[in-house]
Amino acid sequence: MAKIRPRVKAPKKAAMGEIIEIKTLINHAMESGQRKDSSGNPIPRRIINRFDVALNGRQVFSVDLFPSISANPYVAFFLKAEESGDLTFTWHDDDGSVYEETKSIEVA
C-alpha cells in the first residue's frame, strides 16, 4: 500500500460560536475481509476502525468505522468554535498503526 498520509481541511480562523466544517481524508484500502484473491483465498480484513478528534486533548468527535466504509475513508463533520488551540485527528488501523494529524485553530 502507498504510504498512508492523512489530509485535513479545517479553517485556520473562526469567529466565536461559529459552526465550522472540517473535512478529512486518509488513503487506505479499507480491505473489507469479504473479498478473495485470484486463487480464491480470502483476503484478511484490514480497515481503519476508529477516527478520533480532540481539541486541546479533549475528545470532541469520533467515528467507529466498519468494512462498509469506502476505500480512502472520507469524514466531514462540524464543530462549534469556542476556543483556540490544537485539533488532533487520529486514525486507528486494524493492524495497530495510528496515523495522526494536527491543525491549529484561532477563535476570535
Partner: protein, 158 residues
C-alpha cells in the same frame, strides 16, 4: 434470520480498483453463491441494542443519491434535527445499510461542542438497499431516518 438471496448473475465479477496513488490493481472478486445478506432483521437487532423503545420516525434527514452508479463509493450525509446544548444533545448516530453482508456502516459520536449533529462519509453498497440512520440523544431517546438507494454496480461485497 438470514435470507439466502440468489446472487445469480452478479455472483462473479472482476472489478478494477484504483487507489489514490494512481496505481491500478486488478482484483478478482468472488461472492460465494447464497451469501447471506444482512437484511432488516440484523438492522433491527442493532436498533434494539441501542434503544428499548422503537425509535421515533423522522428527525434524521439522510442526503443520498437516488441512484448510485458505483456502489464502491456512495456519498451519504445525515443531519439530525435536534439542539446541541450541554443539557440536550445527540450522542450517537448509527448508519446502517440493510443489504450489505455486514449492515453497520459507521457509528458517529457527537458532543455538545459539535454544534450540529451532521456528518458525511462515503460507503460501499452491495446493491440496491435501504440506508438507515438511528440517532440517540444523551437522555437515551432515539429517532431514525430511512432512505432507499438504487445501486447500478454493487461495491465489493462489504
Amino acid at each position: 434470520m438470514h435470507d439466502a438471496l440468489e446472487t445469480g448473475g452478479v455472483s462473479r465479477r472482476t472489478l478494477m480498483i484504483s487507489f489514490g496513488g494512481g496505481a491500478t490493481v486488478a482484483a478478482a472478486m468472488t461472492l460465494s453463491p447464497g451469501l447471506s445478506l444482512a437484511g432488516e432483521a440484523e438492522v433491527q437487532a442493532i436498533i434494539d441494542q441501542m434503544a428499548e423503545a422503537a425509535p421515533a420516525e423522522g428527525g434524521v434527514d439522510l442526503d443520498l443519491p437516488e441512484i448510485a452508479e458505483n456502489g464502491n463509493t456512495v456519498p451519504v450525509t445525515f443531519t439530525v434535527d435536534a439542539p446541541m446544548t450541554a443539557d440536550s444533545y445527540v450522542k450517537t448516530v448509527m448508519v446502517m445499510a440493510d443489504g450489505n453482508p455486514q449492515p453497520e456502516v459507521a457509528r458517529f459520536h457527537f458532543t455538545p461542542e459539535s454544534g450540529t449533529a451532521s456528518a458525511s462519509t462515503r460507503m460501499r453498497l452491495a446493491g440496491t438497499q435501504g440506508i438507515i440512520a438511528v440517532a440517540q440523544m444523551n437522555d437515551g431517546s432515539t429517532m431514525m431516518g430511512r432512505k432507499l438507494v438504487k445501486v447500478t454496480i454493487g461495491g465489493c461485497g462489504g
